[in-house]
Amino acid sequence: MWKYVLKRVLFLIPTILGVILIIYAVMNITPGDPGRAMLGANASQADVDQYNEMIGYNRPFLTKYVDYIKNMLTGDFGTSYFTKQSVFAEVWPRYSLTIRLSLMGVIISTLIGVPIGIYAAVKQYTLWDTIPSIISFFMAAIPTFVLGMVLLYIFALKLNVLPSFGTTQGLKSFIMPALAMALPPSAQTMRFTKSSMLESVRQDYIRTARAKGAPERTVIWKHALKNALLPVITMVGMSLGMFIAGAVVVERMFSLPGIGSLIVDRISYKDEPVIIAGTIMIAIVFTIVMLLVDVLYAFVDPRIKAKYAGTKGK
């Protein structure tokens, strides 16, 4: 088990190296440069060249790559080409906003999806099952930004109870973005929970539990639910990664200063250090969350733990 965890953590190293390589490669083959973007179209070519030289943009592709990795090992993630600030100071506040937003999204989508999914499975073929199923079917086809605009229209324009952009009103500013992000995935969570629950109800141990005379309430809530929720844990964990990456849509919509919109804004300035640091942070959190989910899963489910113990060295 620990060997497996170590292996997964060590795989972060080639991942980070690969991500940096991909970004430098994409930046290298695409037109434009930070000097021109910074100084504007009217600046003389000499000034632009001088600027690019000064920030070190003109170094060859591989030199930049190796230098960046060397600096990174000493804890230096570089300075932004654009604001001249340390990348860490730029990226961190943006990142914490996206994490907060994504956690809210995950919590909302789980709180909506899981209970409705369980209930729909228990009451299969009744209205408690059909209506949520139909709603979730439509939800799956609604893009986040359309939902965001519907919410914007209702809560900001018509009822005027929530701010339409920015983060000035604290928690209130996050309600609409988090809802817009959470509702489409909550439909998916609901469907997933329902099918997992239905699968679990069909197992032999449920029949055993019923046969030994356990009350239906105990059978459903103790025996079936415990087993049904295992795959749901994985799914919720995976969705956190998706939320962090997908947050860029609502960040742009509601003008929230998050990491995704920072990266996208800086692409046109070719601000390589910021883009790299931002993307790596997302990749690291993504990998760690997935790893935690796997480990958690193994700890909750003795069968999987036994499998790891059985196949040593794998």
């Binding site: 991909i22 930004f145 990266i263 993307t279």
Partner: protein
Amino acid sequence: MDELKNTAAQAAGAAVAAEDEVVTFKRPSQAKEIWRRFRKNRGSMIGLIILIIIFLLLIFAEFISPYEIAIKQIPENILAKPSAQHPFGCDAYGRDVLSRILHGGRVSLAIALIATMTSCIVGSTLGAIAGYFGKWIDSIIMRALDIFMSVPDILFTMTVVVALGANFVNLLIALTLAYFTNYVRLVRSQVLNLSEQEYVEAARAGGSGNARIILSHIIPNAMGVIIVNVTLNVAKIIIYESTLSFLGLGMPPPQPEWGLMLSEAREVMRKAPFLLFFPAAAIVICACCINLVGDGLRDALDPHLKS
């Protein structure tokens, strides 16, 4: 199993072949069988019919309402409410919304269909190579893919579109890069699974080469799962592509496009909320119908899954 039966029939000679013919005569062809099962699913049939209607409308969009109307700006018509002349109203530039929806749909669906095809071809090829040859080829492809997938696809797509500029071809490249990874994993696992089947072993024992085994034994059997995924992916790409357009990273204006129309409608949301409705409805209806057809196909292609 059919392959085995066929090989056996060929080997056994004319008498058995005749009997085999009788058997195949009684049993309808696979396509017919799939269609029979698909037809029983009422939701999927409704989805299919609506989709066909949408496709016909989009194909004949030029006759219903020529492209010039979609981009012609008439000042008197600015934010005109829906009327007999303009059933869906007019936008903030005085352009006919119905015509823009039709022509925008052509672009959206064309991009979605082509991007699905290209990502499927790229991904399936890599997946088939990884799964069939295994060993170090598999390791290299899958580890590279893991690294590639740790960059969130929406950021990757945006990087490509922002850096290369927004147009039809770059959008296709970006969407292909975002979606091919699914197919690599899917096809690889299918191939790994199918390579261990008896009929592949039989084919190999019969002297078939790698190419023949892949093309005539593995691909046809993996097709079902791939087709279902392709169908459901079209819906995802429509949504994804409209999101990109909404963020200003899709087709450049004045080209009508559903996401772009929504982003323009947002500016005048207070005065003309109806402008939001039609493009949003178009996206949702298309995605819903494609999902319905995809679900129906999944059940029809693999009756075991449905229980």
